[in-house]
Amino acid sequence: MAEEQNKKPCRFWIWASASVVFRLILISFPGNLNLSSRPEVSTPLTSIRRLAEGYWLKQASMSPYAGSMYHGSPLLLSVLGPLTVQRIKGQPSHLLCSLVFVIADILSAMLLRGIGQKLQMAYGLNARLLGFLKSSRDKVILPCGDIAALVYLWNPFTIVSCVGLSTSPIETLAVILALFGAVTRRVPLAAFGFVMATHLSLYPATLAIPMIILLGYGLDAPPIKLFLQTRSVENEKSSTSTVTKQAKSKQTTHLPFLWKTVMHFLFWVLLWSLYVLVLCALSLNKYGGVEEMFKRTYGFILSIEDLSPNIGVFWYFFAEVFDFFRNFFLIVFHVNVLFMLLPLAIRLKHRPCFLAFVYLAISSILKSYPSVGDSALYLSLCALFVNELVDMKFSFFLFCGYLGISLLSPVMHNLWIWRGTGNANFYFGNAIGYACFQIVFVVESVSAMLNHDRALRRSSSNHGEVNS
C-alpha cells in the first residue's frame, strides 16, 4: 500500500519532467517550427512579434500602442520586451522568452496539482460524510491533481502555445494562480492572480463570481441539502473541512457565507488593481497614460478591430456584417458572455471551481481573439473533475472532434492563405465546427455535473431509506 503511494508521485514526476524536456527540445529548433505565425496560436493580443514591435516603438521613444500592433499589457512589455531583443549567440532568437513560457507552464502545472489535491481531499471527505465511501477500497478516488497537471503539461494545445511564443501561458498562469489562491484560502494571492488575469486578458473578470463563492462557501461539495438529509439519518464524526465545520456548527438550511473573507478579498483586489494601475501609469507616463492603455487593450478586445483570421467566429462575422449593424452585433455577442453567468452561478453555486471552469470555457468560445491556449486552460481544469465527470456523454465524439479540428485547421488555412485554392469559407467552416464542439463540451460537462449531483441525491435518499 505504502509502496504504491510512493510510486505514484514518482511516476508523476517522471512524466512531468519528460514534458519539460520535450518542450526544451522543441524550443531549441530554429524558427520555433513556424508555430508563432499560426493564427491558432498567436492572436493579435498574444503574439510575441507584436510585443517585440511594441518594445521597439517604446525604445524609439514612441508610445508602444502607436500604430495598431501591440495590444497587451505595459507590464508584460517591460518584463518580456528586453528578452525579445536579447540574443544568445548560436541559439535561436527568442530563446529566453521561450524559457520564460516553459517556466510559466511548469508553475501552472504545479499550481493545478495543488488545486487538484485540495479538491480530491474535499471530494473524499464529502463522499465519506455522505456515506458513499465506507472504506477507501470501495470506490477509487482518482488523483485529479496529478491528472490535471499531466493533462496540462502534455496537452498539445499547451505545448503549441508555449513553444509558439504566445503570451497565453502567462495569462493561464495568472488565472490558475487566482484559483489556487482561492482554493488554498490565500486571499492576497487570489486577489493578485485575479487582478493580473483580468489585466492581461479582461475575460477572467468573470471569475470574480466563482472566487467569491469559493471564498465565501468553501470548496466544491455536493448540495448542502444532501448533508442535512444525511445528518438527520446518521451522525458521523469527523473532520477538518470548512464545509463540514460550518455545517456542523449551525443546523440551518443555509450555509454561512464568510463575509469577512470576501471583504478581505475585495479589499485586496482593490489594492492590487491600484498597484497595477499605478505601475501601468508609470510605464506609460509619457504616452497617454492609463486611459490610452484601456483604449488600446480593452477597447481593442471589445471593438474587434482586427479582422485577421483566428479559430473564433468573430473575425469573419465582422468582416462580412454590414457596417450599420456592427455595433448591435458587438453588443449582442459580448452580452452573450455575460448572459449565462447568473443562471450558471445559481445552479452551480455549490461547485465554485467547476463554475470557474465553465466560465473560462464559455469565454474561450465567445472571446474576440481566441487561441488554443485558452482551450488548453479549460481542458486541464476539466481534468480536475474527473471524479465527478466520469459519466460524461459524447466524450469520445468530442475527443475526435477536437482532434479533427486541430488537424484540419492548418490544412484549411494553408489552402486559403498560402495556396489560394480554397477561400475564407473553408477556414471559417472549421472555426464554426470548433465552436460547436466547444459548445457541446461545455453543455455536456455542465449536464454531467448536474446529473452527478442528482445521482448523489438519489443514492443518498436510497441510502437513507435503507438505513432507516
Binding site: S37, R49, A52, E53, Y55, W56, L57, A60, M62, A66, G67, S68, M69, E305, D306, L307, S308, P309, V313, W315, Y316, F317, F318, A319, E320, V321, F322, D323, V332, F333, N336, F339, M340, P343, L344, R347, I365, L366, W416, I417, W418, G420, N423, A424, N425, F428, I432, A435, C436, I439, V442, V443, V446, S447, L450, R454
Partner: protein, 646 residues
C-alpha cells in the same frame, strides 16, 4: 459673322495685353513658354514643355488677373497654399537611360499616377482641413479622383525625408490613377493660349499619349512680398514631359533615329503665343557630342556645331550655349509664321552613342515572400557606374560617405514590423548604428492613418549595393473596404530615394538669358528618384456570403444559449410530475393511451389526475387572462402615448 468674331479675338487679346503692359510697368503678370527637346541614348526623344505664369504681389488689380488663371489664384487664396505640386504620370522613368542626375529628371521623373504635396500657411491645427479641402478643389479642377487623398489613410506628413522641411507639409499619392486626356484638357485651360497657339499647339493628344512616359506637372509657389498691404505673388509652373519614340525607316540598329517636330507630334509650330513674354525652343545634346567641339570662336565653328559630320539641324539656332555635359541650342520661334512654320528637325548621319549621368545609387524595390499572410518589402540600392565621378561626397570621420534619404508611405493594411528592419551593405548585415544615421517612424493605425518611414542612410562611397528589408503582415479588410476589383491587389505607393548631399544643376558657362526654363535648370535641385509601385495581393473574403455568415454565426449563438439554458433549467423529477399532471388534465383518448403506454414501459401505475375543482380552475384562469389583457392594454396605451408625444 463668324469671320468677324474671329478677326476680333486677336484684337481683343492684343488690347488686353497692352492694358496689362500699361498698368503694371514692372509688376506685370508674365507668361513664358518653352520647349526642350533632347535625344535620349536609347533612341527616344524627350520633349519637355515648360510654361511659367507669374502673378506679382500687387493690390492694384484686386482679384483680377490678366494672364494668370483665376482658378489657381482663388485656390491659393482660399486654402493659403504656400507651395504645391501636383503631377499626373503614366509610365516609368528609365533612370538608367534617361538620366538621373540632371534637373530635368530630378524634377520631372514622377511616380506613376497622381502625386500631390502641398505646404500650407495656416496654423498647425488647420493643416489637415486645408489639405482635405484642397484635394476636393483639385479633384474638381482636374477631373481626377484626387479627393481620395482626403482620407487620413492615404496621406502623410513627412518631417524631413521628403526634402522640404516643414511641419505643414502634406504628401499623398494615388498610384492607380489612370491619367489621360481628360486630365490634360483642364491643365491646358490654365494656359492663356490653351493649346490653340504657340508651343502648346504641338500637344496633339494621340502623339502625346502614345509615348513611353508622360508626366504633367503643376507646381505653384507663393512669393511673399516684403511690403505690407501687398498680397503675395504666385508663380505657376506647368510642365509636360513626354518621351516619344520617333518613327524611323533606317535599318541600322545603332543609328539614332532622325526626327522633326512634325514627325514627332504631327504638328508644327506656327508662331508663338501672343501673350507670352518669351517663347523658345531648346535642343539639348548630351555627352560626347558636346565635348567634341571645345571652342566656339568663329562663325564657321558655330556653324559646325549644328551642321557637322555627325548630325545636322534643319534650322539655324539663334544661340548656342555650352554646359558641362553638352550643348544647348536655342531657337526663337517668334519669327515663324503661317507661311513659314517652325519645324525643327534633327538628322543623324553617323551612329553615335552617349550615356546619361546617373544618380549615385539606383533604387529598386520589390516584395519578398509568398502567400497572403505576410511578406517583406526590400529596397535595393545599387551603385551606378557614374557614382565615383559625382560631386557631393562627404567626408565624415575621415571616411567618404554617401547619404541617402528613404521616404516611404505604407497603407494601413500593410502592417509593418519596424523592429524587423534589416540593412545589408554589400550583402553583409549591418547594425543600425553603423549605417542608419537618422530614422523617423510613424506607425499606421488600422483604418485611421497610414504609416510612414523616413530614414537617412550613410553609406561608404565604395559601396556596391545596399539593401533594406522590412517585414509586414497583410491586413484583413471589411468587405466594404475592398475596391470593385478586389483580386487585383493593392498598390503600395512609390518610395522616394533622395540624396541630400547631391544636387543637380546645369552649369552654363555663359551668362544666362532670362529664360525661366534655364533659370530653373540652373537652380540646384535635390537628386531624387522614385521606385516602382508595388502590387500586394490581399486575401479576399467571400463577397457573396454576408447573409450566410450572419445566419450561421447567429445559429451557433442560439445553439450555445439554448442548449446551455436547457441543461440548467431541466429538473428531471419535476418534469415527470409536470408531464403527469398535464396528462391528467387533458383526458383526450389518444393522450390517455400514450400515457398508459409510457406508464407501462416505465412500469409504474398511472397517477390520478390532480383533484382541483374545474370552477376554481376556470376562475383562476380568467383572472390571469384579465390581468394579461390589462397588461397588454396598458403597454399599448403607454406606447401610443410616448410615440405620439414626439
Amino acid at each position: 459673322m463668324a469671320s468677324l468674331v474671329r478677326s476680333w479675338i486677336p484684337l481683343l487679346i492684343l488690347q488686353s495685353f497692352l492694358v496689362a503692359v500699361a498698368f503694371g510697368s514692372k509688376e506685370a503678370e508674365q507668361f513664358s513658354e518653352a520647349l526642350l527637346l533632347k535625344p535620349l541614348p536609347d533612341r527616344k526623344v524627350l520633349a519637355h514643355f515648360h510654361f511659367e505664369n507669374r502673378a506679382p504681389p500687387s493690390n492694384s488689380h484686386g482679384r483680377h488677373h490678366h494672364l494668370f488663371p483665376k482658378a489657381i489664384s482663388q485656390l491659393v487664396q482660399k486654402f493659403r497654399v504656400k507651395e504645391m505640386e501636383l503631377s499626373f504620370t503614366q509610365g516609368r522613368w528609365n533612370h538608367e537611360h534617361w538620366g538621373g542626375f540632371d534637373p530635368l529628371s530630378s524634377m520631372n521623373a514622377k511616380p506613376v499616377g497622381v502625386e500631390l504635396w502641398a505646404v500650407f500657411d495656416v496654423p498647425q491645427s488647420q493643416v489637415d482641413t486645408s489639405w482635405k479641402n484642397l484635394t476636393h478643389a483639385l479633384s474638381g479642377l482636374f477631373c481626377a479622383s484626387i479627393n481620395f487623398l482626403e482620407s487620413s489613410t492615404s496621406y502623410a506628413a513627412p518631417t524631413w525625408g521628403f526634402g522640404t522641411n516643414s511641419d505643414k507639409l502634406r504628401y499623398g499619392s494615388l498610384p492607380r490613377e489612370a491619367v489621360c486626356t481628360e486630365n490634360l484638357t483642364p491643365w491646358l485651360k490654365l494656359l492663356p493660349c490653351r493649346d490653340k497657339d504657340g508651343i502648346s499647339a504641338l500637344m496633339n493628344r494621340p502623339s502625346v499619349y502614345r509615348g513611353f512616359y508622360h508626366s504633367q506637372r503643376l507646381h505653384l509657389s507663393t512669393v511673399e512680398s516684403g511690403q505690407e498691404g501687398l498680397g503675395s505673388g504666385i508663380v505657376l509652373e506647368q510642365t509636360l514631359t513626354v518621351v516619344l519614340q520617333p518613327e524611323t525607316t533606317s535599318v541600322e540598329t545603332n543609328m539614332q533615329p532622325s526626327w522633326s517636330l512634325s514627325s514627332l507630334f504631327g504638328r508644327k509650330v506656327v508662331g508663338s503665343c501672343v501673350l507670352a513674354k518669351s517663347s523658345n525652343v531648346y535642343l539639348q545634346l548630351e555627352g560626347r557630342l558636346g565635348h567634341e567641339s571645345k571652342n566656339v570662336d568663329t562663325e564657321i565653328e558655330a556653324h559646325k556645331l549644328w551642321k557637322n559630320a555627325d548630325f545636322d539641324l534643319s534650322l539655324k539656332p539663334d544661340r548656342v550655349l555650352r554646359e558641362s555635359s553638352g550643348l544647348l541650342f536655342i531657337f526663337d520661334i517668334d519669327k515663324s509664321s503661317d507661311s513659314e512654320p517652325f519645324d525643327l528637325g534633327l538628322n543623324w548621319k553617323l551612329p553615335s552613342k552617349w550615356s546619361c549621368q546617373q544618380a549615385p545609387l539606383q533604387a529598386s524595390r520589390f516584395l519578398m515572400g509568398s502567400g497572403n499572410e505576410r511578406g517583406a518589402i526590400a529596397i535595393l540600392l545599387k551603385a551606378t557606374e557614374s557614382q565615383e565621378k559625382l560631386p557631393g561626397r562627404e567626408l565624415t570621420d575621415g571616411r567618404c560617405t554617401i547619404k541617402a534619404n528613404i521616404f516611404q508611405i505604407f497603407p494601413w493594411y500593410i502592417k509593418v514590423y519596424y523592429h524587423t528592419l534589416q540593412i545589408f551593405v554589400d550583402q553583409q548585415q549591418k547594425t543600425d548604428s553603423e549605417v542608419l544615421k537618422k530614422i523617423n517612424v510613424s506607425p499606421s493605425t488600422d483604418k485611421v492613418s497610414s504609416g510612414m518611414l523616413e530614414m537617412m542612410l550613410e553609406l561608404p562611397c565604395e559601396v556596391k549595393s545596399a539593401a533594406i528589408s522590412i517585414e509586414y503582415d497583410k491586413g484583413f479588410l471589411h468587405i466594404d473596404e475592398y475596391p470593385p476589383d478586389a483580386n487585383q491587389g493593392f498598390d503600395i505607393p512609390s518610395a522616394l530615394i533622395s540624396f541630400p548631399s547631391h544636387h543637380a544643376s546645369l552649369d552654363f558657362q555663359e551668362e544666362l538669358s532670362k529664360s525661366p526654363l534655364l533659370s530653373s535648370f540652373k537652380e540646384k535641385s535635390l537628386v531624387r528618384s522614385y521606385t516602382e509601385v508595388l502590387l500586394v495581393p490581399l486575401t479576399t473574403p467571400d463577397f457573396s456570403m454576408p447573409y450566410n455568415v450572419i445566419t450561421i454565426t447567429c445559429t451557433i449563438f442560439a445553439l450555445y444559449f439554448g442548449s446551455l439554458l436547457n441543461v440548467l433549467r431541466r429538473r428531471i423529477g419535476e418534469e415527470e410530475r409536470f408531464l403527469k399532471s398535464q396528462a391528467g388534465k387533458k383526458t383526450g383518448g389518444v393522450k390517455q393511451l400514450l400515457l398508459r403506454l409510457t406508464a407501462k414501459i416505465r412500469g409504474r401505475p398511472i397517477e390520478a389526475p390532480s383533484s382541483e375543482s374545474p370552477a376554481a380552475e376556470s376562475s383562476f384562469l380568467s383572472t390571469k387572462l384579465i390581468f394579461k389583457i390589462i397588461l397588454i392594454a396598458g403597454a399599448a396605451a403607454a406606447w401610443q402615448y410616448f410615440s405620439t408625444d414626439k
